[in-house]
Amino acid sequence: MDRFETYTGVVGTLDRANVDTDQIIPKQFLKSIKRTGFGESLFFDWRYNEVGKPDQDFELNAPAFAGASVLVTRNNFGCGSSREHAVWAIAQYGFRTVIAPWAQRGDVRVPAFADIFRNNCVKNGVLTIELSSAEVDEIFSAVNASPGLKATVNLEAQTIALESGKSFSFEVDPGVKETLLKGLDDIAQTLEHESDISAFEATHNTQLG
């Protein structure tokens, strides 16, 4: 996996909540046995019209968002299925960072991203950033005011700075940060604990759990 280095890119917006993985990549594209070629199918049902041409009404098709590499969206992004194809599509389209707000529902703080989706992002070098709704609103307004606006994402410093001047800091899990910054291979890392796994297996009964 490539290291996650500080970069500057166009911010694309998708002003919808609860975007599910069926929307991110519809099921007909899950039949591939390859790991590539998903970028063109990202948001397929929204992005293309009946005759397969880009639908001008779809936000991300706006010319100002061409080449966008930072996606800003709403709460509960990536809910639904476990399909990693959703993250492959996002990454292969060119997004390296996805920003969404956490939400409050009663006493519960509702995370911005669905669990499995967020995990899948880490495995593919995509950074997910949770901000407050107010902060995400600010980014939306800044982009609306000047479409094509760029942002600089600095994972080391845990900041995202808009070209227009405003910057935000974000929290990130230390393990996730290290994995992304170093571009670590998960399996190789785990296999460093091979002897622990073998020792565990020697006494663990997999019929009893």
Binding site: A17, Q23, K31, T206, G209
Partner: protein, 468 residues
């Protein structure tokens, strides 16, 4: 210290606490299907790695398979995916229940049937509805393809410990109200992200009196509430299910007795603490019907299509978009909404008990002429059982198409799909835009509600309908 069911299982499976705050968790069972595994096997090939524990890994094909004529998969891409799984299982020494096997079926239906799913285990699959297996008091959750590869290679996963959420259902369900309604009700209350980061533990009188199959329906849809896993403490109902004949992988005889002794220690201790709690009075739950494009957009069958701005957890804009997609007008009674297609099946409600309950409704009745009715057993074993009981005749007599096992219309990856703007009553678990076919409009309901909708051509309150 008092521990929850989840904590007991988690602790027993931690190989090592890692420096990054995650735990290396041992995985007792790994289920594999054709859609989320090819890239994982490819990864193993590229790195020269093997499947670490072939005997803990089981594969089947379900998503892509046609459910009418199984002799040929016409879609070449689907066929390639199914063939890739066969080759991968042969190359890597993984047990596969393919289309020629009498054990084939939806991965979450066959795991419990074959005794692969047992209390106290950790279990994963590259599929979010792996939460189903939590009904046995199993820590079971869905993973992505990179994680599938990780488990194949290491039999472990690096996981951050989730938080715990106690979901208690007090009281008794009304007649004709299903476990499906219990879980839809919960999702309506906490929202589709309300359980994110948590493992749900279902308890209370109404849960304890559910059969294993009904418990699986509840746990199945934990993911629709945002939770990767949902669990129910094992009890005598669980042990009876596990000890049934025809569960080749379940312990037998003395080994079974020993296992039960251990399994009895699994339920959470009195006074165990949860990070969040919700209590629902089961006796007040009405049959549920979803009206929107997210499982959280759900209400009582006695209600009307809501006004934008009146739905907790959804903005007016979200509701407007959903209603536009669904072709519904606020204020319309749900019982006035007519359906074109009824689908009974999926890993949520495609087990024998679901089919029995649906068949009871159909007995001596016919579907409305305008409705297309599809009944798809969750596994080949369910199909055989249903046929032995004559349920297939009831369904066919009512005008249904009776099929072979598979995911079918739960998601349109195979030939069973809705056409644009077609409206379905479906016993599956997701009503996302396009889930059952591009432009299709899905309403999630219980098997009895689906059956009654097929007969009447529109939704009915099954409580009154079946009394009258």
């Amino acid at each position: 210290m008092s521990k929850t069911l989840f904590e007991k299982i988690w602790e027993k499976h931690v190989v090592k606490e890692l420096s990054d705050g995650t735990a290396l968790l041992y995985i007792d069972r790994h289920l594999v299907h054709e859609v989320t595994s090819p890239q994982a096997f490819e990864g193993l090939r590229m790195t020269g790695r093997k499947v670490r524990r072939q005997n803990l890994t089981f594969a089947t094909m379900d998503h892509n398979v046609p459910t009418d004529d199984r002799s040929v998969i016409r879609d070449p891409i689907s066929r390639a995916q199914v063939e890739a799984l066969s080759k991968n299982c042969a190359d890597f020494g993984v047990t596969l229940y393919d289309l020629d096997s009498d054990k084939q079926g939806i991965v979450h239906t066959i795991g419990p049937e074959l005794g692969i799913t047992l209390p106290g285990l950790t279990m994963v699959c590259g599929d979010s509805h792996t939460s189903t297996h939590g009904a046995f008091g199993t820590l079971a959750f869905g993973i992505g393809t990179s994680e599938v590869e990780h488990v194949l290679a290491t039999q472990t996963l690096r996981q951050k410990k989730p938080k715990t959420y106690k979901v208690e259902y007090t009281g008794k369900l009304q007649p004709h109200v299903f476990s499906k309604d219990m879980i839809l009700k919960l999702i309506g209350l906490i929202g589709t992200a309300g359980g994110t980061g948590y493992v749900l533990e279902y308890c209370g009188e109404a849960i304890r009196s559910l059969s294993m199959e009904a418990r699986m329906t509840v746990c199945n849809m934990s993911i629709e509430g945002g939770a990767r896993a949902g669990m129910i403490a094992p009890d005598d109902i669980t042990f009876d299910y596990v000890s049934a004949e025809d569960r080749p992988f379940a312990p037998k005889g003395e080994a079974f007795e020993k296992a039960v002794e251990y399994w009895r220690t699994l339920p959470g201790d009195d006074g165990a603490k949860f990070d969040a709690t919700i209590t629902i009075d089961a006796s007040e739950i009405a049959p549920q019907v979803t009206w929107g494009t997210s499982p959280g957009m759900v209400t009582d069958v006695t209600a009307t299509v809501p006004e934008p701005g009146s739905v907790p957890g959804y903005s007016a804009g979200d509701v407007e978009k959903a209603l536009e997609y669904m072709g519904l007008t606020p204020g319309t009674p749900l019982t006035d909404v007519s359906v074109d297609t009824v689908f009974i099946g999926s890993c949520t409600n495609g087990r024998i008990e679901d089919l029995r309950r649906a068949a009871k409704i159909f007995e001596g009745r016919k579907k409305a002429d305008s409705v297309k009715l599809l009944v798809v057993p969750g596994s080949e074993a369910v199909r055989r059982q249903a046929e032995a009981e004559g349920l297939d005749k009831v369904f066919k007599g009512a005008g249904a198409e009776w099929r072979f096992a598979g995911c079918s219309m739960c998601l349109g990856m195979n030939p069973d799909q809705l056409k644009p703007q077609e409206r379905s009553a479906s016993t599956s678990n997701r009503n996302f835009e396009g889930r059952q076919g591009k432009g299709g409009r899905t309403h999630l309901v219980s098997p009895e509600m689906a059956a009654a909708a097929a007969i009447e051509g529109h939704f009915v309150d099954i409580r009154q309908w079946s009394n009258g």
